[in-house]
Symmetry: C2
């Protein structure tokens, strides 16, 4: 009975099963899917003993059906490939994905940033492409161990637009597994909306050596600067065809204050010497602004300053 029910469910491969990938893999496993993972660093541990979770959702610990290494080929062509790696210059995501996709495999991005789908849409024009935004607080605490603190909601839609039967099926599986999914037929607009916050707070917190949200808002001129950065993101979004509701800045600011002091993921990456998704979250937006002739002096200052710093920091660690 259990086997039969599992076999009726789609086969999933998760590429980049860090905190995010192993969390959404766990959810799909809970929904009865066959879920395999492709791992580089934690391969041995996960192969031996799976993923161990702490989570307010209960025991999410799970053992993948197969644990692959990059370069292997799948024992069975998956119905969905979830790509959950960071979007970083020098990481060729199409190459990471290529060997795992069948002709009909849907490719699902659960990644941050803006304009991050294009290179995959170009590489695999015939595969369905799903773009997801994760609203989650989750972190890897060691090899194969993950701490899920809160949330988990996904926003999902096809890239560049639409909401097809793959979205429908996958959204329902995530819901069965226990998380909320907001379907949208304009996922790019949702990415722009998330960038209003991320493109302002994230890089600023890195420049300020890991400042939390309230430290940034309460510094002299801090809230005013964040509002100016948000205004620039909104102006670029609008020029790109995605107008925002007029109260979005107020809601972002008041929501952030209500949440209390909070260190965002880019700040945590920086403080833990992990690479930051600067280009996906800031660089791509400044590039679009330049293409559309929208002035973004505050965003540009932050972007270029962080680019300079990355050169300095990587020189130090050599």
């Amino acid at each position: 009975m259990i086997l039969k029910s599992a076999e009726a469910k789609p086969h999933i491969v998760v590429i980049g099963a860090g905190a995010i990938g192993s969390f959404y893999g766990a959810i799909l496993k809970r929904a009865g899917c066959a879920v395999s993972v492709v791992l580089r660093s934690d391969y041995e541990t996960v192969k031996a003993s799976g993923f161990r979770f702490t989570s307010p959702l209960g025991d999410l610990s799970w053992t993948p059906d197969h644990v692959y290494q990059p370069g292997e080929t799948p024992l069975q062509t998956p119905d969905y490939v979830l790509l959950c790696v960071k979007v970083l210059p020098g990481v060729d995501r199409a190459e990471l994905v290529r060997s795992w996709l069948g002709n009909h495999t849907a490719l699902v991005l659960i990644e941050n940033g803006l304009d991050i789908e294009r290179e995959l849409a170009d590489a695999f024009p015939d595969n369905p492409l799903l773009s997801c935004l994760a609203f989650i607080a989750v972190s890897r605490t060691g090899p194969g161990t993950v701490n899920h603190q809160a949330y988990g909601q996904l926003v999902m839609g096809n890239f560049p637009k639409g909401f097809d039967q793959h979205c429908e099926q996958l959204a329902n599986l995530f819901r069965e597994g226990g998380i909320d999914v907001n379907g949208t037929d304009a996922v790019v607009g949702e990415r722009w909306r998330k960038c209003v916050w991320n493109t302002s707070f994230n890089p600023l917190s890195v420049l300020a050596n890991g400042a939390d949200t309230l430290t940034m808002l309460d510094a002299p001129g801090g809230e005013a600067l964040i509002r100016l950065m948000m205004k620039e993101v909104i102006a670029v979004a609008e020029a790109d065809g995605y107008p925002m509701p007029p109260d979005i800045i107020e809601k972002n600011i008041s929501g952030t204050r209500a949440m209390g002091a909070y260190k965002n993921s880019m700040a945590l990456d920086y403080l833990n010497d992990r690479p930051i998704e600067l280009e996906a979250i800031v660089g791509n937006i400044v590039a679009i602004a330049d293409r559309l002739d929208v002035p973004v002096p505050h965003l540009r200052t932050v972007l270029v300053t962080l680019r300079i710093r990355q050169g300095v920091d990587s020189a130090h660690s050599e």
Copy 2:
């Protein structure tokens, strides 16, 4: 003979005899002046054995005529008081100076930044006020020990304008002591001119964790950002009544490239956990821009980001 010649020369008190103060004290000592110093941290060492210098100018080591501590009163009212402390919020420079000034003592500022004279002009309206910019590479290497690497030239004039007989006399003494002095009757304009470089390169290097000049210029978008920041400084200077020559940006950029990779003093202060003169070099300029309605988005981003970071860093070190 020697005593007589020394007595004909003015009496000098140097307040804040760090690297800068002890260097210019050394020069005036070489010119035959009686030079005393007011010291906090290196008091015991300097009282016992004076200042030891390494310098391309020769042996500049010297022993002050008197070594005072803050709160003492001068044995003889000085003709000139040289104020060589950093311009930092929370440092009441008028208070530092008050007890050392006689009715006719000229107050000489050898300090960085813009609009840094006002509080002293207001506090001591009847004393001559001289404002100097130092072009020098010099650093304190230990208690009472100083390494003078290069340069030493001063630009000098009265604040807010003019070049009186005090300037004349002091400039000649510095020249006798072996350094160049460029007199000006528009020292505020000279401060603006120096800020074209300092207000752009200095805070950017701190944000980039101590990047040198070439690292900043050669990062993607780096030179363009520096030029945009310089343009803003020039626009504020012009609105403030100090127009700049049209080629000043080109000259600053090409001069900086010709000099080779160089870490400016604010970067060194930051890397050595010393406070940076953020308000004197950036904050005051943004304040003038706001008063005169000149947009300075790039400068503002850098300023506010560093203010946030200062809060973060001081919280870390508590």
